[in-house]
């Protein structure tokens, strides 16, 4: 979204213009719901997160300084809520094995990708990696944008992306079993 258009939208949101609220929901609502659904794998949870995200946005709109784009802000809120939900649903904490990144496997070109296997492995992939893959491939965000949204260093995002891909490639090569 153009910077001037966004500034105007924020201004109208702050003034409480109804059409600005409809506009922001039309612009980001659907896409956000889809992303939350992909992360949470549950429609009901995703809807709750989207609803809560917009509530928070509306409540805090007066404090929005415009240091980042409204899109980044919405996604920051939503992804934090998603993470909270995922954490609440898990007994064990997530851990990252960045050091294990297998460059050899990463470099391997997979000739034929069995989509069913990939689909299954994507579902089983650790949330930490799945989240980055969704933002990078589905949302088509840059590493910089993802790092801003997730409040992590760009290097961390790159590592997670690489690790996620490696895990998927390994699983595909093995014929559909994730090593982790």
């Amino acid at each position: 979204m153009e910077l001037n258009k966004e500034k105007d939208l924020v201004k109208r949101l702050k003034k409480g213009h109804e059409e600005a609220y409809v506009e922001v929901i039309n612009l980001y609502g659907n896409r956000l719901l889809k992303t939350c659904y992909l992360i949470l794998k549950d429609r009901h949870d995703a809807e709750d997160v989207v609803q809560e995200t917009f509530f928070r946005l509306f409540r805090q709109i007066d404090s929005f300084k415009g240091n980042s784009s409204i899109y980044t802000w919405i996604y920051q809120i939503a992804l934090n809520l998603c993470r909270d939900r995922l954490k609440a649903g898990k007994d064990t904490a997530l851990f990252e094995s960045i050091a294990e990144s297998d460059e050899k496997v990463e470099d391997t070109v997979i000739e034929s990708i069995d989509r069913d296997i990939l689909r299954k492995e994507l579902k089983n992939l650790d949330d930490l990696y799945r989240e980055v893959l969704i933002l990078f491939y589905y949302e088509e965000l840059s590493i910089k944008e993802i790092s801003k949204i997730l409040n992590e260093k760009e290097g961390t995002i790159k590592s997670r992306l690489s690790r996620g891909r490696t895990l998927l490639k390994k699983a595909i090569e093995k014929g559909g079993e994730l090593s982790e």
Partner: protein, 103 residues
């Protein structure tokens, strides 16, 4: 890392998974309920607000006011005033009630 074949496949799968996910009108309406209101709307809402009037105390106060206003103001005054016009002058005669009664 880049958007290669594996990346395209991942994207396709995600798109397929999220294909039927749409924001329902119901959810949109629910979200919009919590939007910030404009000053105009706030005023209009305030003016159209239903106000509950507690009938008993209001009636009691009303009756009290009515009684006070109907009560003769000089009931506790202990004197009567007579004004006598003499030419261009006025003579005010104050007579204490007790005295008049004894006349």
């Amino acid at each position: 890392m880049n958007r290669d074949r594996l990346g395209s496949e991942i994207k396709l799968i995600f798109e397929e998974e999220a294909k039927n996910i749409e924001l329902s009108q119901e959810l949109r309406d629910e979200i919009l309920k919590y939007r910030k209101k404009s000053i105009k709307e706030k005023i209009s809402e305030f003016l159209n607000k239903e106000i509950e009037i507690p009938l008993v105390p209001v009636v009691a106060v009303f009756v009290l006011v009515l009684l006070i206003s109907a009560f003769p103001k000089d009931i506790f005054k202990n004197e009567d005033i007579d004004i006598i016009d003499i030419g261009s002058s006025e003579v005010i005669v104050r007579v204490e009630r007790g005295l008049r009664d004894n006349d």
